[in-house]
Symmetry: C2
Subunit: 519 residues, 2 copies
């Protein structure tokens, strides 16, 4: 029945003409597939029925293979070389084209430098190790996790060697590059050391004080439906755009962006402690506002992507802490509590709620820590992972080292490894070099916010009226719209005129917390 | 810094050894990617923020290209030939291997027979036509849609020619193959003709009767949150497994299965008419129970897939109509109304609700039609699309033909094309050959249900006690577990011992409706 008109023809789409156009086309295709991976991950955490897990793993493994083929395609390497040889194209290192070429080169090298057997062994080991870690944590059984940690340390050290590091550097630098490009352990250390000293002094003073805010508001039971309406209202008010995003629930809150027009947040709720849900939601909204603020015209290219995890975290922490734990914010928000929860919250004064949002109390668990002690948890992990990578600390000695540092920095006697060195999932996943980005985020947040206050002096008065648009506009203008034009340290200098230091964060904490604790 | 251990190595996964194992591996990979497409489609209709559409279209286009490459891979053709030459493998035509080879051959031929330029032109034309259709429908402006319909008719006729049809057949057969494999227009006509005559007589009698059930229950306003809890309860009670699926809202209800452990239903709600939400939910749950009943060991292969749209529809219609509009179902469900809605439904008797679920009234819109007149809408469309394909009817003459048939079969004067030939999206999408599957579903449902009643004589008594497990088990045993082992007509003969006829459906309708209308 086939006629002449049914002869198969070749589909010949118009090919981009210049090497740069071809490069952009290739990386946009890879990003598109990456965004599908991201969506499947979001669905898995929020929507997927329990029994869908095994099949989902297969879907994700298939997409990971296809995506790996795309990002390591020799065609990218060829176009990169042609672009790099084009002097006019690369003349201005801050131009869109130069940034896209530079960052694509960086990602291409990362993607092609690891031998396939090491990638496969890391994937297999961490997949098993994550399960073993969960069991070991449940039973507070470090011995069970130790052989897996040893394997992961050996494999990540090999990974670091494959990537290499600059003269005078160390293996940690090579690993941190995945999370905080161009960041070295030595640089982190130079900012963390003064932070640790000043923070230690502040925490001691606060802990010793007989004046303390009351925790009562954090123990008030409030219906979760009401909490959900409330946190959704606040997130919208501070600037998260629901026509380009959504908010759902998950065990661990996260922000998953496929691109700036589809950004998905999750949060969590407990019967008591609406401030936990509010903090999580404002935090994730901060991540989401950053994703939504990235330039739409550069979707799918480095110029349309966030700079680093530290900068991402600076956005979430600023909305969570500089805004959400400020008295000005509560001047506006305190009356809203009565609107959303009725008489159940009617008796709490503005200062009682503001105080409850700012209680500082050294404790064992990082993810439950307050704004001040949180950074101690991070610095302890950084110091430990650094020496795990140099080999100065053997994995078997991790619990002893961990507990000694908790005693030294937070004055705590860790009761067991479940509440000690087994509490976090990161190392079991091979994520070494990740932890410091949390505190780098706090530091960047404080330094950026100081500058925003300098540029918009009545920010706090605006917050007290429920107006958050000026801060969002400032962030878009100074941070979001640049995509990856700058590295994190460069952006900090560009925006604030200074390198990153511990001063702004410490000033922020001291000015707020000392008076609250009668100091 | 690179050491010897960093030399890139080739990843060499173990290859399946026999041609059949290789074939299965190839088609499972293609199915896996297809399931990702399906998930993105579900997300688009239920979860995606408004502004995510443009990017989502790009994601889907990319996956469609990758999927097309997989299903048309010459490697599939090679393995198919090797399998087909293996006499032992193909000895029993009902064996798993023989079925998988036969169906894969069928799909491979369909996927590779169309020239790429025709595929591209169809995709582009239908994408534009769908938009034009929506505008034309809104304005009841057939002239606006006509040039698009003409293009689509010409392109689908060319498509039919590429596929070809059996001697004595016609172009419609070649197109229907996508929806109802091995089904011909002549066969459909031979079942539809007696159905149309008997149904016409029944509808006339019911319409003329002075005794009619009251519609009052369908006009009762009920809170949507309560409706949602109620329909979710019923869907779970009839056997939809929420550990392997979910229920959400969308404008048009649908069932989207990525595989039997992750089946997603949607439904819709209106302030009034909980029976609309209930009917939609039971309908989609029927689709979902079929998907969940497909054999897990054959996921990703034809043996793990539904037979045809007609058989899929038989499953949804059975739960919606044979179960959900039966008096036995309402004996159990009527007291539940009071539990879920309280005094708002307290005054309606069992027979008032049962009657409201079974009102027959000829009207213009297919998707709002009742259990009896619905089939008239379908038969009109089938008769028209058949002659559009032979060329006996010119697209320009569609409204006249449409209106004449509505007058003849349903006694209605179509007031405008919005409520006439522009009401459905199908033809604008190039879906010609699809409509009859709705009525084939009703026919199969009735014939299967008669057999189920023969095998389990107290089914109705079980429904009256809220027990639906025996029917679900019967369906799994007789329909679901076979995957694509049989074609639809073969399954019907295998299960009921008879070819498909109009008798069971007409008996079902006449026995239920005539007494209700005092006839």
């Amino acid at each position: 029945m086939a006629t002449a008109s049914c002869a198969p023809a070749t589909n010949t789409p118009v090919e981009p003409t210049t090497p740069y156009a071809q490069l952009i086309d290739l990386i946009k295709q890879a990003d598109l597939l990456g965004s599908t991976v991201s969506l499947l991950g979001w669905d898995q955490e929020t929507m997927m029925p329990n029994q869908g897990l095994a099949f989902r793993s297969e879907q994700l493994a298939q997409l990971a293979r296809l995506h790996h083929d795309q990002v390591t395609s020799p065609r990218i390497g060829e176009q990169l070389e042609a672009c790099e040889a084009d002097r006019a194209l690369m003349a201005d290192p801050r131009s869109v084209a130069a940034v896209n070429v530079r960052e694509t080169r960086r990602e291409y090298e990362r993607a092609t430098k690891l031998p396939a057997d090491l990638v496969a062994e890391l994937a297999k080991t961490t997949s098993l190790a994550r399960h073993e870690w969960a069991e070991a944590r449940r039973d507070s059984d470090f011995a069970r996790f130790l052989p897996w940690l040893e394997k992961i340390v050996a494999l990540t050290r090999r990974k670091a060697e494959c990537f290499g590091w600059a003269p005078g550097g160390e293996p940690w630098d090579a690993l941190a590059e995945d999370y905080e490009p161009s960041c070295t352990a030595a640089e982190v250390q130079s900012v963390f050391a003064p932070l640790r000293d000043r923070l230690g002094a502040l925490i001691s003073d606060l802990t010793a004080s007989s004046t303390k805010p009351t925790n009562d508001f954090n123990e008030r039971t409030l219906p979760i439906e009401q909490q959900e309406r409330f946190v959704r209202f606040v997130s919208e008010q501070i600037g998260f755009d629901y026509s380009r995003g959504r908010l759902d629930r998950s065990t661990h809150p996260f922000c998953s962006g496929t691109h700036c027009h589809d950004v998905r947040l999750t949060t969590r709720f407990r019967d008591d402690n609406v401030l936990d849900a509010l903090g999580s939601t404002m935090h994730e909204s901060g991540h989401g506002i950053y994703e939504q603020g990235l330039p739409a015209e550069h979707i799918g290219t480095p110029m349309g992507r966030y700079i680093s995890l530290g900068i991402h975290e600076s956005q979430s922490r600023m909305w969570e802490n500089q805004v959400g734990r400020s008295r000005a914010f509560w001047q506006w928000c305190h009356p809203k509590l009565a609107e959303y929860f009725g008489p159940a919250v009617g008796s709490f004064t503005l200062d009682e709620v503001y105080g409850a949002a700012n209680i500082v109390r050294p404790d064992f668990i990082r993810v439950e820590a307050d704004e001040a002690t949180y950074n101690m948890h991070v610095m302890i992990r950084f110091e430990i992972e650094r020496v795990l990578m140099t080999g100065e600390l053997a994995p078997a000695d991790l619990p002893g080292e961990w507990n000694a540092k908790y005693k030294e920095y937070l004055g705590l006697d860790v009761p067991d490894d479940r509440r000690g060195c087994l509490q976090d999932v990161h190392w079991s996943m091979g994520s070494i070099g990740y932890f410091p980005t949390y505190t780098l985020g706090n530091l960047y947040a404080a330094q950026f916010f100081d500058k925003a206050l300098e540029d918009v002096p009545d920010l706090y008065q605006q917050f007290a009226r429920g107006e958050f648009g000026a801060l969002k506009t400032w962030l878009i203008e100074n941070v979001h719209r640049h995509g990856r034009r700058y590295r994190a340290a460069e952006l900090c200098e560009h925006v604030t005129g200074k390198p990153l230091t511990a001063d702004p964060l410490m000033r922020h904490l001291e000015r707020k917390l000392r008076p609250m604790y009668g100091l």
